[in-house]
């Protein structure tokens, strides 16, 4: 998605660092704006990551092949999550 963001974890950590920096204040306006912009970017990335994982259950067989899990595993009922599809 964005090559400057490693993963979800790194993004959240960086976002927290940005908040801390902005809280400490005394930054030049330009730096503040850059941090702000980066913060928005990170936040967007995190949200995208949350939605990115596919709702899927797969079975990895003996030969290393992957197939969808049988429906009787009880996976495809309740959908209380915030997926919007």
């Amino acid at each position: 998605m964005d090559s400057t963001i490693k993963d979800f974890e790194a993004a959240i950590t960086e976002l927290e660092t940005i908040v801390k920096k902005l809280e400490e204040g005394d930054l030049p306006l330009e730096t503040s704006l850059q941090l702000y912009e980066r913060g928005v970017q990170l936040s967007r990335f995190c949200h995208a990551q949350l939605e990115q994982a596919e709702r899927r259950i797969e079975i990895l067989n003996e030969r290393g092949g992957v197939s969808p899990a049988p429906a009787n595993l009880g996976a495809e009922d309740e959908s209380e999550g915030r997926t919007r599809r």
């Binding site: 596919e54 709702r55 999550g81």
Partner: protein, 475 residues
């Protein structure tokens, strides 16, 4: 001589008494009361079977309100009543249950009211447990020595797993529990299951192979390995060395979830995280999605408010510079003295006004662009996953904000350098003639013995000229 037996409340039949009934009619018949007979039997049994070991299967096991446990020990041919008192049960390392084969240590006694003999158990151990316990302890020690349980080896779980690997049986309750919990907490979780037998001959090797296979699946960044509850024998595969080593060798972090809370296996020690149950493992592996949302939104909101606060402060600072008392007062005073000073002051005021005006315009531009940029709307856009966030909002608005900011900062810097106060603050001084009608710019304008006034950043000096240097300007 008194036979000690006569101390008993009944007459002990002597060997002479024995024999076919009626064969010795001349002897008086010995008639026992039931109690007497029972006492006699108990005495014999307790003496003869004072400490014995007996092996059998537990059945009809129940614990009475008193905490004592009653059960039957049986094999294919026979059975014997058994009791174990609460004080002894405390020391058991397993829970006796029907069908379990055990070796019991105890003594025989008789329960008078029912005329039943029974074994009072002092200790029970599951058959074969001795050997298993030994194997468990030995493997645990070996792996501990190798450092496999070292807390420093434990890896952190990913905050948001991409794919969650699961190694367990498809037939057990564990896989359903895991799926149910994951779905509830994080509906779009991607789960990859590597089915394996989890008990019986060869199960350990299968689990180990499954671990190796799941660790190689692209995107799987955490693995749950385990099974639901069962007997010690059922869980035993998770105490095997091959499983322990497969877990230790897994390239991604592992969570072991074997049996119930109270079951502890070698796998639990080796895994990066031990979960008390499979459901708990699913809870540990990923936080609630809603929690993630809340956390990110909180951070995003914080960034926004901080940014707004920053802009407010800048506005306030500009206001403060405009109304600095030093400006007006000093400039006015300068204006009242002499033409050159007047010129200078006008020049200064013009420059200051000009810069302030430009600065104000710059600020207004910044404000405008920020409003158009509309921070709230940007967060709203993210929150509702508007895929096409308006391009104007992102790049061009950003650029305008930066350009405005740069201009503003440039103006501010120039303004500061032009301020007479700033000049004085840097260490320069203004030198006036004695009447304060002119600023001394040339040493030739004064004579030895003249008096001058030197204006510093703070305060003034009245000075006498004691000598005069070169009148050439410094290069």
């Amino acid at each position: 001589m008194t036979n000690s037996l006569f101390d008993l409340p009944f007459e002990e039949p002597t060997p002479e008494d024995r024999g076919p009934q009626g064969s010795a009619p001349q002897e008086p018949r010995r008639v026992y009361s039931v109690s007497q007979l029972t006492d006699r039997i108990r005495a014999l049994l307790e003496e003869r079977f004072f400490e014995i070991w007996v092996e059998g299967e537990i059945s009809n096991c129940f614990v009475a309100k008193t905490g004592h446990m009653y059960f039957t020990l049986k094999d294919t041919q026979a059975q014997i009543k058994a009791v174990m008192f609460r004080s002894a049960i405390r020391y058991l390392r397993f829970k006796p249950q029907d069908g379990l084969r055990v070796v019991a240590r105890g003594r025989l006694t008789v329960y008078d009211p029912k005329g039943e003999y029974q074994i009072v158990c002092e200790h029970l151990e599951p058959e074969g447990l001795g050997a298993r316990q030994l194997a468990f302890d030995q493997l645990k020690e070996l792996l501990a020595r190798e450092g496999l349980f070292d807390p420093r080896r434990k890896r952190a779980l990913p905050a948001l797993p991409r794919k969650i690997g699961v190694v367990t049986s498809l037939d057990g309750a564990a896989v359903r529990d895991i799926i149910k919990v994951l779905r509830r907490r994080y509906a779009n979780a991607h789960i990859v299951i590597r089915p394996t037998r989890v008990q019986g001959e060869g199960a350990a090797l299968e689990i180990a192979r499954a671990m190796a296979a799941i660790g190689k699946v692209k995107g799987v960044d955490v693995v749950i390995v385990g099974r639901g509850g069962g007997s010690i024998e059922d869980l035993w595969a998770f105490n095997e060395e091959v499983v322990a080593r497969a877990i230790a060798g897994c390239p991604v972090p592992t969570i072991a979830a074997v049996g119930h809370e109270t079951d502890v296996t070698i796998a639990d020690f080796v895994a990066d995280v031990r979960a008390p149950t499979p459901s708990a493992a699913a809870e540990i592996v990923v936080a609630r999605k809603d929690d993630f949302w809340a956390r990110i939104d909180r951070l995003g909101h914080r960034v926004e408010t901080l940014m707004q606060g920053r802009l407010h402060r800048i506005r306030a600072r500009i206001g403060a510079i405009e109304s600095r008392p030093g400006y007006a007062g000093f400039a006015t005073r300068v204006a009242m003295r002499g033409r050159r000073a007047d010129d200078l002051s006008h020049q200064l005021l013009r420059a200051v006004r000009g810069q302030l005006g430009r600065r104000e315009r710059g600020y207004q531009t910044l404000q405008l662009t920020l409003e158009r940029f509309d921070v709230r709307r940007r967060f709203g856009a993210i929150r509702t996953r508007l895929v096409g966030v308006d391009g104007r909002l992102t790049s061009s608005a950003d650029r305008r904000v930066h350009a405005a900011d740069a201009r503003l900062r440039g103006a501010a810097a120039r303004l500061e350098s032009l301020s007479p106060l700033a000049v004085l603050a840097r260490g320069y001084a203004v030198c006036w003639n004695e009447d304060r009608t002119a600023i001394i710019r040339d040493a030739a304008a004064v004579e030895r013995g003249d008096r001058v006034h030197v204006k510093l950043e703070r305060g003034e000096l009245d000075c006498a000229v004691t000598s005069r240097g070169s009148t050439e300007p410094d290069s």
